[in-house]
């Protein structure tokens, strides 16, 4: 736990002064968890609103603008409605797994959030195998989807879950390999250290050609990881109803929905940290004001999220065979070539450093 902006440092000292050490550290963990949970539940809701507004603008519509100023409270109202709704279920569902599945999905996506360095010292969990941990955590989420689809005892949910399994296991490989390409140049798995390395130029500039290729592959695979269009055949409305969450209602449905948007944030945040220098400002223009790192981090992340929304509202959905062709015949071989290229560039010192 090295949150040590001055306000958090004060709370830290105060907690340790009034309690024994063990109790204080547990209290601190719980506090941090509650704060993260609150922030990202609200952030997820606003991402849903952003998605709806952006989708509307792409389609020459206006989008939700009635609840609150410019619709700012729309998704809050939706969430309140979902909380108050009845949780229905099917009789033949496997009750235990059925109820467990949404928590798998939401908990894994919230766990991954703990690792991001939002600004210099605002990071809940600075583990030294950061990227490895992120990749590992993000593949647990698919278990929740598989469980949800299986336990619903519904053929559409089942097909959706199986498609999700195929898709996530395939594209996990591309995400991992494109991140490994960047680890070659950063020389560390720890996220805070990767940001430190980028003080001599963002990694996408340092690594030039292979870094750009890795970024493109990462964005494609990352979009597929989050089951968003054009890779949304998991919940293809025209074929499967709502896919794996067909049988879920009320808050359990909202968990799946929220997790999807938090996952999108995670994918964009990883890309920001690895490729675009995390909280570093361009050319170090605001280096003297550390709190602005938060602004730069969120700004870059939002730009990448917008890119993913742009994909969603432009490209048509792929078929399963096209999906697998794209991964196994194009992304994977290119990725392996790209790793060799990156290794050569790092070996021959051809990186661009400022």
């Amino acid at each position: 736990m090295n949150i040590s902006l001055s306000i958090t440092k004060n709370i830290h000292n105060w907690l340790f002064s009034i309690m024994p050490e063990g109790v204080a550290s547990i209290t601190e963990m719980v506090l941090i968890a509650v704060v993260y949970l609150a922030i990202f539940a609200v952030a997820g809701l606003y991402l849903v609103l952003l998605e709806r507004r952006v989708a509307a603008w792409f389609q020459l519509r206006i989008g939700p603008n009635r609840v609150g100023y410019q619709g700012l409270l729309q998704t809050m109202a939706d969430a309140l409605k979902l909380v108050s709704k009845e949780l229905t279920g099917t009789i033949k569902a496997d009750k235990f797994l059925y109820n467990l599945a949404p928590y798998f999905v939401i908990v894994t996506s919230l766990m991954a959030l703990a690792l991001f360095p939002f600004t210099q010292e605002f990071q809940a969990f600075d583990i030294n195998i950061g990227i490895f941990f992120l990749i590992a955590i993000s593949s647990i989420g698919v278990i929740g989807i598989l469980l949800g689809g299986w336990a619903s005892n519904n053929k559409f949910a089942m097909i959706g879950a199986m498609r999700s399994g195929v898709q996530t296991i395939s594209y996990e490989l591309s995400v991992g390999l494109s991140l490994i390409t960047m680890v070659l140049i950063s020389g560390s798995l720890q996220l805070s250290e990767i940001v430190e390395v980028q003080k001599n130029g963002w990694l996408i500039v340092q690594g030039h050609v292979p870094a750009v290729i890795a970024f493109m592959i990462y964005m494609i695979a990352g979009t597929a990881e989050t089951n968003r269009a054009p890779f949304d055949l998991v919940e293809a409305e025209s074929e499967l109803g709502a896919g794996f969450h067909t049988e879920y209602s009320g808050m359990k449905f909202a968990y799946f929905f929220l997790a999807e948007f938090i996952n999108m944030f995670i994918i964009a945040a990883i890309a920001t940290t690895i490729f675009f220098g995390g909280w570093l400002s361009p050319f170090g223009i605001t280096e003297s004001i550390p709190i602005l790192g938060l602004f730069w981090f969120l700004g870059k992340t939002l730009v990448l999220i917008f890119l993913m929304m742009w994909f969603r509202w432009t490209f048509p959905r792929l078929r399963v065979d096209q999906l697998l062709t794209l991964e196994w015949k194009y992304l994977l071989p290119l990725n392996l070539l790209n790793i060799v290229l990156m290794a050569l560039i790092v070996w021959l010192n051809l990186t661009i450093q400022f």
């Binding site: 792409f58 020459l60 519509r61 742009w310 994909f311 490209f315």
Partner: protein
């Protein structure tokens, strides 16, 4: 090699698509087609081809163009139009002539197919762009299109 050619073409076409949607995104402020209806009720103008209801336009002398030929009544597939007519003496020529008494239009039965308007040889009936057609009683949906005391516009029958 067609493998790399395929990748190049794939990326190129994807970027073409993204530029098209990107242009739409940038122009969404001006080009939004959504009408925020009850708010802009005063300024909202329906487009010309909108089929709201059938009307019979009258000029300032309370004259219409309907000769009472009943072609619209025959053309209507579901009997929305009823024409009550009789033969009266035309005050100008002094001859007996077919004239409409009432052109009755049942909006509640109308499917807005437009066959009556296509059938009309004198363009006496037209589409109106009025869309706020709901009423509290079904009887209000039966409308008499010609105004009381109106007569045929001179020169229509020639």
């Amino acid at each position: 090699m067609s493998y790399f050619g395929d990748i190049y073409r794939g990326i190129k076409t994807l970027l073409t698509g993204m530029s098209v949607t990107g242009k739409y995104f940038l122009h969404s402020r001006k080009g939004a087609i959504t009408q925020q209806y009850p708010d802009n009720r005063d300024t909202l103008k329906m487009f010309d081809r909108f089929r709201g209801e059938v009307v019979m336009p009258h000029n300032e002398n309370n004259e219409h163009r309907c000769t009472g030929c009943q072609k619209c009544e025959l053309a209507c597939p579901n009997g929305s139009i009823e024409i009550i007519w009789d033969r009266q003496i035309d005050p100008e020529s002094g001859k007996k002539k077919k004239m409409i008494d009432q052109h009755i239009y049942h909006l509640g039965m109308c499917t807005m197919c437009g066959l009556c308007i296509e059938a009309c040889p004198t363009d006496a009936i037209l589409w109106a762009q009025n869309f706020e057609n709901s009423v509290y009683n079904r009887a209000y949906l039966t409308k008499v299109l010609n105004k009381p005391g109106s007569k045929l516009m001179p020169g229509v029958e020639e």
